[in-house]
C-alpha cells in the first residue's frame, strides 16, 4: 500500500544534510553506532548508573528490539539515541556524526526531521484532535494543505479514518497509540524509537499496533528500535539486543 503523497512529503522535508556538517550523511558508515555509552542518573546525591559502557550498532532499515528486565537501561539507551538526553560518557554516531557534537538547533532538527518517537503512554496532546496530534512536529512552522492531507492519509492507513477529528480522550488506548505511530511516521523518519509501545494495551490492541508499525516499516524502510518486555511481537529476522545492568549481554537475530 504505497503512500499517496510520498513524493510531496519528500520534497517538503528538509534534509538533515542541509543543517548538519558535511561528514554526517556518508552512506559508507554505520547508520547508527553506539560507543562505550555511559549514563548516570542523579537521584539527589546518589549516582545511579543506567548504562555502563555499552556499545552496539544498528543497520539502516532494520527492525530491532531491545530486551531486558526493568532497570537494565533499555529506555535510557532509547532516549539517548533520540537525543532527548545527554550521555555521561561515550558517544552515539548517527550516519557518522556524533549526536553529542550537534548544536541545540541541529538536535531540534534531528528530532523533528529524522526521528519518530512512540511512547508507552502515547503522549498525545489532549487539546488537539487526531489530525493535529499527528501534525504536532510541524505546528510551529505552519501546516500546509499537503502536510495535512498526508496526516489524514497516515491516520487512514492505521485504521483511524473515522476518528480524524476525535480528541485523545475519545480514543481507546490502541487508537491513541496508532495516532502516535502516525505522528512518528509523518516526517518519514530515518529512525523510529518506540518505548514499550504496547505496555498499556491489551493483546489485541498491541498486536494491531505492531501490525501497523511493521507495515509502515516495510513501506518506508525506516529503521525501527523497540524497547519492550513483551516478546510476543517478535518476528523472524528481527534483531534482538539483550541488556542487563546497563550492559549488552548478547545480540541475535530472531528465528521464528
Amino acid at each position: 500500500m504505497p503512500y499517496v503523497a510520498d513524493d510531496v512529503a519528500e520534497s517538503m522535508k528538509p534534509r538533515m544534510n542541509e543543517n548538519l556538517p558535511d561528514n554526517l550523511a556518508t552512506s559508507e558508515q554505520q547508520f547508527l553506532e553506539v560507543k562505550d555509552l555511559e549514563k548516570i542518573h542523579l537521584r539527589g546525591e546518589t549516582r545511579v548508573p543506567a548504562l555502563r559502557g555499552l556499545s552496539c550498532s544498528f543497520e539502516k532499515g532494520s527492525f530491532n528490539f531491545i530486551l531486558g528486565p526493568s532497570g537494565s537501561g533499555k529506555s535510557s539507551l532509547l532516549y539517548l539515541l533520540g537525543a532527548l538526553d545527554d550521555p555521561s560518557a561515550g558517544e552515539i554516531m548517527f550516519q557518522g556524526q556524533s549526536l553529542h557534537s550537534l548544536t541545540e538547533q541541529q538536535r531540534d532538527h534531528y528530532r523533528r526531521e529524522q526521528v519518530g518517537f512512540i511512547f508507552q503512554s502515547f503522549n498525545l496532546l489532549k487539546t488537539l484532535n487526531a489530525v493535529d496530534n499527528v501534525l504536532v512536529p510541524f505546528l510551529p512552522q505552519g501546516i500546509s494543505v499537503q502536510l495535512r492531507q498526508r496526516a489524514v492519509e497516515l491516520l487512514k492507513q492505521v485504521g483511524l479514518g473515522h476518528r480524524l477529528d476525535h480528541h485523545p480522550h475519545h480514543l481507546s488506548g490502541g487508537e491513541q497509540q496508532r495516532v502516535a505511530i502516525a505522528r512518528a511516521l509523518l516526517k518519514k523518519p530515518e529512525l523510529v524509537l518506540a518505548d514499550e509501545p504496547t505496555g498499556e494495551l491489551d493483546s489485541a490492541s498491541g498486536a494491531e499496533v505492531f501490525r501497523y508499525l511493521r507495515q509502515l516499516h516495510a513501506e518506508q524502510q525506516t529503521t525501527v528500535i523497540v524497547v519492550t518486555h513483551d516478546e510476543r511481537y517478535l518476528e523472524n529476522a528481527d534483531r534482538l539486543l539483550h541488556l542487563a545492568d546497563g550492559r549488552l549481554l548478547r545480540e541475535e537475530v530472531h528465528q521464528g
Binding site: Y79, G82, L84, D85, D86, E104, Q105, D108, H109, Y110, R111, R112, E113, F117, F119, N123, L125, K126, T127, L128, D132, V136, P137, L139, P140, G142, R183
Partner: protein, 460 residues
C-alpha cells in the same frame, strides 16, 4: 500555533477564566479610575473655555467664592486701556435650599450687576438660557433668580414658582443649561439683592469679570491690569455698618493712615526683590539647576502656582484659570496611579500564577513537544501566545466593562460626576493589558523553555 495556544487556554477553562477575570477587573478599574481624572480634565477645560473674558480675583484665592476685593476698584479697572466692561460679582454658598441642607454637590449664589451683565457680548448663563428669561433691569432689587436646569429638575421647580434659598424666598424666572457640572451649580440673581440677603458688605465684592474691547487683546489687558494694580494694597477692611455707626476718632484715623502708609511702604519691594517677583520664573530656574530631577511639567505647574504678592489681584483668562484649577488635581492623578498600580500588580501576579500552574501541569506535554523537535523558541512562543491572548482578552473585556461603567455612573449621577474614558485611554489600557499578559507569561515560558525533553517527561 495560535490555534494551539487558544485550544490550550480553552481546555483549562476554570484557570483561564479566573486569570481573565483578574485582568478584566484590573483593567476595568484602571479605565474607571483614569476616567475620573480625564472627566475632570475635560470638564474643567470645557467649562472654562466657555468663559471668554478675564477674571480678576484676590491674589491666591482658589475660586471666586474665597476672593474679596474692594468694590471701589471697579472704577480703576474701567480706566485700564482696552477694557470694555467690568462686571462685579458676589459669590455666596447656598447652605439651605427649600429646607434641605446642601453639602454635596455644592450650589452657589452669584450676584451680578444685571445691566452690565446684559451688556456683555458673550455672557455665561444668559447665552445658555433654555427656559424662561434672563434677568433684566426689572429684576434689580428683586429676588428673581435664574438657575441651572439640573437644579430645577432636582427641586422640581416651575417657572414663576417661589422657593427658599438660605431661608429667604426667591422666584424662578429662567433656566439655563451649559452641560458642565462645574457651571451648572449656580443660581444667579441681582447683586444688590444678594448683598442684602447674605449681609455682604457694600464695599466688598468677590471678583470682577472683565470683557476686553476685543478678545484677542486679553493678554495685553491682563498685563495692563497687573501693572495698574502692582504695589497696591487693599484698604484695611472695616465693616460699613461700623463706619456708619461710629464717629471717627481723629487719633484712630491718623493711626490707621500711618498703618496704611507703613504697609504700602513695606509692599514696595527693593529693586532686586521686585525684579525677582516680576520675573517669577527666575527662582524656578535656579531651583531647576539645583535639582535636575524636577520635571518640566512640575516646573510649569509650580510656575502657574507662583503668587506675585506685589499684585493684590489675580488676573487671568478663565482658560488659564482652568489650567491652574487642573493643577490642583495633580495629586488626584498620583493617587489614581498608585491605586491602578496595586490593581495591575495583583492582576499580573494572577497571570503569572495561571501560566506557571498551566506550565507545571503540562510538563509532559512540553517534553513531548521538544521530543518532536520543538525548539526553545517555539515553546517560548507558545506560552507567550497563551499569556498574550489572556492579556488581550482581559484588556478588551476590561475596556468594555470600564467604559460601560463610566456611562452608567454618568447617567446615574449626572449632577455629581462626569467620567470620561477617551479613545486614547482605552487604547492604552488595551496595549498595557496585552503587554502585562506577555510579561507575566515570560517567567513560566522561560522556565518551560529551559527544560530538557527527558527531564520534562520524567518529571511529569
Amino acid at each position: 500555533m495560535l490555534r494551539f495556544a487558544f485550544s490550550n487556554l480553552l481546555n483549562r477553562k476554570a484557570r483561564s477564566t479566573l486569570a481573565l477575570l483578574g485582568l478584566t477587573v484590573a483593567i476595568a478599574g484602571m479605565v474607571g479610575l483614569f476616567s475620573i481624572v480625564e472627566g475632570l480634565d475635560r470638564m474643567t477645560e470645557d467649562s472654562f473655555s466657555r468663559i471668554p473674558g478675564i477674571l480678576v480675583m484676590q491674589t491666591g484665592a482658589p475660586i471666586p467664592l474665597f476672593s474679596r476685593l474692594p468694590a471701589e476698584w471697579e472704577e480703576d479697572l474701567k480706566r485700564v486701556e482696552g477694557v470694555k466692561i467690568v462686571c462685579p460679582e458676589i459669590w455666596v454658598r447656598v447652605n439651605v435650599l427649600e429646607g434641605k441642607m446642601i453639602i454635596n454637590p455644592p450650589r452657589f449664589l452669584l450676584g451680578v450687576d444685571i445691566e452690565l451683565w446684559n451688556a456683555l457680548s458673550h455672557a455665561l448663563y444668559r447665552d445658555d438660557l433654555v427656559e424662561g428669561r434672563f434677568l433684566t433691569s426689572e429684576d434689580i432689587g428683586t429676588r428673581n433668580v435664574v438657575l441651572a436646569k439640573l437644579i430645577q429638575d432636582e427641586m422640581q421647580l416651575e417657572l414663576g414658582e417661589t422657593f427658599s434659598i438660605n431661608g429667604q424666598d426667591a422666584t424662578l424666572v429662567g433656566v439655563y443649561e451649559t452641560g458642565s457640572i462645574l457651571i451648572d451649580m449656580t443660581i444667579i440673581m441681582d447683586i444688590g439683592s444678594l448683598r442684602d440677603q447674605s449681609r455682604f458688605d457694600p464695599d466688598v465684592i468677590s471678583a470682577y469679570y472683565v470683557e476686553a474691547v476685543d478678545d484677542d487683546l486679553n493678554d495685553e489687558v491682563i498685563d495692563d491690569i497687573r501693572d495698574a494694580f502692582r504695589g497696591r494694597q487693599a484698604d484695611r477692611w472695616v465693616p460699613s455698618s461700623a463706619i456708619i455707626n461710629t464717629d471717627e476718632n481723629p487719633l484712630e484715623k491718623a493711626i490707621q493712615g500711618f498703618d496704611r502708609w507703613l504697609k504700602s511702604a513695606s509692599s514696595e519691594q527693593p529693586p532686586s526683590s521686585q525684579n525677582k517677583s516680576e520675573t517669577s520664573p527666575e527662582p524656578l530656574k535656579e531651583s531647576s539647576v539645583q535639582d535636575q530631577a524636577v520635571s518640566k511639567d512640575a516646573l510649569e505647574i509650580e510656575e502657574r502656582l507662583q503668587v506675585d504678592e506685589s499684585i493684590p489681584v489675580d488676573v487671568q483668562t478663565a482658560d488659564a484659570w482652568g489650567e491652574k484649577f487642573g493643577d490642583f488635581m495633580s495629586d488626584l492623578d498620583f493617587i489614581m496611579f498608585i491605586l491602578t498600580s496595586i490593581g495591575m500588580t495583583i492582576a499580573a501576579l494572577g497571570v503569572v500564577n495561571t501560566m506557571l500552574m498551566s506550565v507545571s501541569e503540562r510538563i509532559i506535554e512540553i517534553g513531548i513537544l521538544k521530543a518532536n523537535g520543538w525548539s526553545k523558541k517555539h515553546v517560548l512562543s507558545l506560552i507567550s501566545f497563551e499569556s498574550g491572548i489572556l492579556g488581550l482578552a482581559g484588556g478588551c473585556l476590561g475596556c468594555l466593562f470600564g467604559w460601560i461603567a463610566t456611562l452608567i455612573v454618568n447617567a446615574s449621577f449626572p449632577d455629581r460626576v462626569d467620567l470620561y474614558a477617551s479613545p486614547q485611554l482605552l487604547c492604552f489600557s488595551l496595549f498595557f493589558s496585552t503587554l502585562l499578559g506577555l510579561l507575566a507569561g515570560l517567567y513560566p515560558a522561560i522556565w518551560a523553555m529551559r527544560m530538557m525533553p527527558m527531564d520534562a517527561i520524567r518529571r511529569g
